[in-house]
């Protein structure tokens, strides 16, 4: 990789002022950024390491909302008794990202800021109706994920935590690519009072909600409600890993498994 300047600020304010430079990049767990830099697909002039900042970690329940610090490693979320109690599907999702070594470094904030179209966490955020808190504002997940590797984040804006409202039921099922372990298709479902959410990752150019499925599950939250309900293949990815038709089929299968797991 090309060389760069390295900063480890101790405060969000300092990190934000360094990050205002568009040639700088924030370094969280580095499990995507560093491989990308090694391939020279990214060549930032400076890296701003967020690991020295207090206040970006910690997992706690506040009322009926689960607060997860942006620098929480996947392994921490997977093993947290608080997460397992409040939203077991979220703990299970975190425990299925990458492999144990990646989970020891990769972070929630890093994953959603990158918004890889096949990443797991965007499905959890959208499927639970989470709110992404930054140093500047709070962004509903519905407005946060704007496209392939694109988010609503601005230069100098740093995710501080994610607020997950605790659902009555939630489940996640993914069909992992056996080589990369990214989701070929992953579906997160949740039910909270009357609201049902179905978020799909891996299948399209970015995470999206399957509204027909949400409607079907709103009537009755059971796998059988999804019989005959599908997502149109026309909008889905079609590549060497899977055709669009196959992905559309998998969305149906994974959605039913997610409901069964919920």
């Amino acid at each position: 990789m090309y060389d760069f300047a390295f900063h480890r600020p101790a405060s969000i304010r300092k990190a934000a002022s360094l990050a205002a430079d568009e040639d700088a990049k924030l370094l969280a767990g580095g499990q995507t950024l560093l491989p990308t830099m090694k391939q020279r697909l990214a060549a930032p002039e400076a890296l701003i390491d967020l690991s020295g900042i207090e206040g970006l970690t910690g997992i706690a329940m506040k009322g009926r909302t689960l607060h997860v610090g942006a620098m929480s490693r996947h392994a921490e979320v997977a093993e947290s008794p608080v997460v397992r109690e409040a939203i077991p599907a979220l703990a299970a999702l975190a425990g299925g990202i990458g492999d144990p070594h990646v989970r020891n470094l990769g972070t929630l904030g890093g994953s959603i800021a990158n918004n890889d179209p096949a990443a797991d966490y965007p499905a959890a955020c959208l499927g639970l109706g989470a709110t992404i808190a930054t140093n500047k504002r709070r962004i509903p997940a519905d407005d946060f994920f704007t496209g392939m590797f694109e988010t609503a984040l601005q230069d100098g804006e740093i995710i501080t935590k994610v607020l997950f409202p605790v659902p009555r039921r939630a489940g996640y099922a993914k069909f992992a690519n056996p080589a990369s372990r990214y989701a070929l298709v992953g579906v997160f479902v949740s039910k909270r009072s009357r609201q049902v959410r179905v978020a799909v990752t891996g299948a399209g150019p970015g995470v999206f909600r399957a509204t027909d499925m949400e409607e079907a599950l709103s009537k009755r939250f059971a796998a059988r409600s999804l019989d005959g309900v599908s997502v149109p293949a026309g909008d889905l990815n079609d590549d060497i890993h899977a055709s669009a038709d196959y992905r559309a089929h998998l969305v149906g299968v994974m959605a039913k498994r997610a409901v069964d797991a919920a």
């Binding site: 060389d3 580095g30 560093l34 390491d49 093993e79 144990p100 070594h101 470094l105």
Partner: protein
């Protein structure tokens, strides 16, 4: 150049490095600890696994400067003098290697699995938790046996299933 200081296998070390220096490069080229291998260099294969502050990580996907102040353990730090670590002894005993290239990472991962899951991980747990380590020789069968035997010999209390 940036100065980085950390503890590696109990010794305090420091050096001036370029920020882009990977932890695995720092270990191999600055400290001449060549037991940690570079296999794929793309965080897939696990030949470079070391422990940083007690957690298994891929040293090819971490910068040396990220380890400022950290405690790092490599395969060279496991044995007690001439006495092999129980997990190393188990890999020898159960023929858990052929060419040996993946072995340092396998053993560092295996020790981490036992530390997290207790002294008697079952076969399914071992296979699942070795997800991030690739061996192209053995077909994994003897590696799994070695991890189970090494775990039993490590004298770590059994734990309720964590996952």
């Amino acid at each position: 150049m940036t100065t980085v200081a950390m503890t590696v296998n109990g010794d305090s070390v420091s050096a001036d490095v370029e920020p882009r220096t990977l932890l695995v490069q720092f270990l191999r080229e600055n400290l001449l600890l060549t037991g940690t291998h570079v296999g794929c260099d793309t965080s897939q294969c696990g030949a470079c696994v070391v422990h940083v502050n007690g957690k298994a990580v891929k040293a090819c996907t971490m910068l040396a400067v990220q380890c400022e102040g950290a405690e790092v353990t490599t395969i060279e730090g496991l044995a007690d003098g001439d006495a092999l670590h129980p997990m190393q002894a188990a890999f020898q005993e159960h023929h858990g290697l052929q060419c040996g290239f993946c072995t340092p990472g396998m053993i560092m991962s295996a020790v981490d699995i036992v530390n997290r899951h207790g002294g008697a991980p079952d076969e399914a747990t071992i296979r699942k938790q070795l997800d991030g380590n690739i061996c192209r020789c053995t077909g994994y069968h003897n590696i799994v046996k070695a991890v189970a035997a090494g775990g039993a010999a490590m004298d770590v209390p059994a734990r309720e299933a964590a996952e």
